[in-house]
Amino acid sequence: MTDNALHIVDLQKRYPTGVEALRGVSIDIKPGEFYGLLGPNGAGKSTLIHCTTGLAQPTGGAIEVFGNDAISDYAEARQAVGLAPQEINLDHFLTTEETLDFHGGYFGMPKRERRERTEELLETFSLTAKAGDRTRTLSGGMKRRLVLARAVMHRPRLLILDEPTAGVDVELRLELWHYVQKINQEGTTILLTTHYLEEAEQLCNKIAFIADGQIVAEGTSEVLAERFGVPNLEDAYLALVGRKELSRSHVEVVP
């Protein structure tokens, strides 16, 4: 048992198809940290997140969230986690308001608290005017905002963001990051996966590279760049995926 927000030891996941998505992943995320998990598609990022949130069942290893087992005796661990998944997975039968209210209910929030928190989040995410609209009628950006609002509805101590800004416009991306940075400063631990390296560089205290189901490097962006012998995080990532030739550091600026 540790004091870490997330403590993962030797996590393994083999799907029934035989695919080994995670091959002994171990990471520790301290309370209050903004932790980035970077890697190419299929590296195991989403599987790691699914194992942590109960959406996938690990075939080996251990996961603790704030010292609580997240695999077998998972109630306390799941109570502490909020998930904004990569795919928008809103319930088409619910309205915007109901989406938040029901989520709060699943996490045991009393009615009054749910009502107050729903109002607060609708306001924060500029969704008040859409409170009574069915989720399927919302625009893509609104759906993305609602997914994040739902993830924080029950005030999780660990917020997991799985590529939350994929396909969103610049304005919305900045809005989301401002909110996430704010709650991080207030004490919420963040685990972020993203393909936008500059975002990870700006936001995260610590970054891990995952490839082929294994953590291959971990540290600050400076440490990672040094580890790969390159000037920045992007080049370190390109070195990881074996595409150094794409480095923008090699591009000569024509006067």
Partner: protein
């Protein structure tokens, strides 16, 4: 209310909310369908058949129609609800909550159970206004209807969890459930059938359910009430245990 009670009530409320939002389809259509059966088989055929085993034909038919309304609605609701949520990915919100497999299973089951109860209840009220419908053995009728409702709720959950496309649900309903119900003696007495059909009817589990409900209403049965009740209770318990194992393993719900 405790957090666990709030959670369970919300999970259940979500299921009821779903079918109440489309009540023309989930309540109105089945009611109309039942009344068409009463009109065609009861009123129209009843003028020719008059009585079966000393009971007015329309009265003989109505208990089976009430049972059919409860069972098909319970089944359809749960199988569709689970499959739709799996398709949308919305089920992840419930699966990543602290809810236990038992809480999830009961909540999904009770959604269909409630829809069946509402349609069957409305059918009973309307039928009572149209004909003189007796309730001879209420102590047999209530447990029988509740067990039938719960059995088909569980069956709907089982098919919904196993299904990978809507065709799977439609297949189970059209090619298994409907023939079993229609050939179980809703509209006739098995004693009127020639051999081997009369004997074959005794291998149809729905035949015993219809007899239980018919006995509860009009006091007529072709089977042992005690044995049928025990068999129905055992079958319901068995399918519940199977479903609970599937939910505990995360079968086709968690990766």
């Amino acid at each position: 209310m405790s957090a666990a009670q709030i959670r369970f009530a919300t999970l259940w409320r979500r299921e009821v909310n779903r079918f109440m939002k489309i009540k023309k389809q989930t309540i109105g259509a089945p009611l109309l369908e039942t009344f068409l059966y009463i009109s065609v088989f009861g009123a129209a055929l009843g003028t020719r058949i008059k009585q079966l085993h000393g009971i007015d034909y329309v009265v003989f038919v109505i208990p089976g129609l009430i049972m059919m309304a409860w069972s098909t609605n319970a089944f359809t609701n749960n199988s569709s609800s689970i499959l739709q949520q799996k398709f949308q990915g919305a089920i992840q919100d419930q699966l990543s909550s602290p809810a236990s497999p038992l809480e999830l299973l009961l909540a999904f089951s009770l959604g269909g159970f409630m829809r069946g109860l509402i349609v069957a209840g409305l059918t009973f009220i309307a039928a009572s206004l149209l004909v003189d419908l007796p309730v001879d053995h209420v102590l047999v009728l209530i447990p029988s209807l509740f067990l039938v409702g719960f059995f088909f709720s569980q069956l709907g959950v089982l098919i919904g969890v196993r299904a990978e496309q809507f065709d799977d649900v439609a297949f189970a309903q059209t090619f298994i459930l409907t023939p079993l119900i229609f050939l179980g003696g809703v509209f006739y007495s098995a004693t009127l059938l020639p051999q081997p059909w009369e004997t074959l009817t005794h291998f149809n589990p729905v035949y015993y359910m219809i007899n239980l409900v018919r006995y509860g209403f009009v006091g007529y049965t072709e089977v042992s009430i005690t044995l049928s009740l025990l068999a129905l209770a055992a079958a319901t318990a068995a399918i519940f245990v199977v479903n609970l194992r599937l939910f505990s393993r995360g079968y086709k719900l968690r990766a």
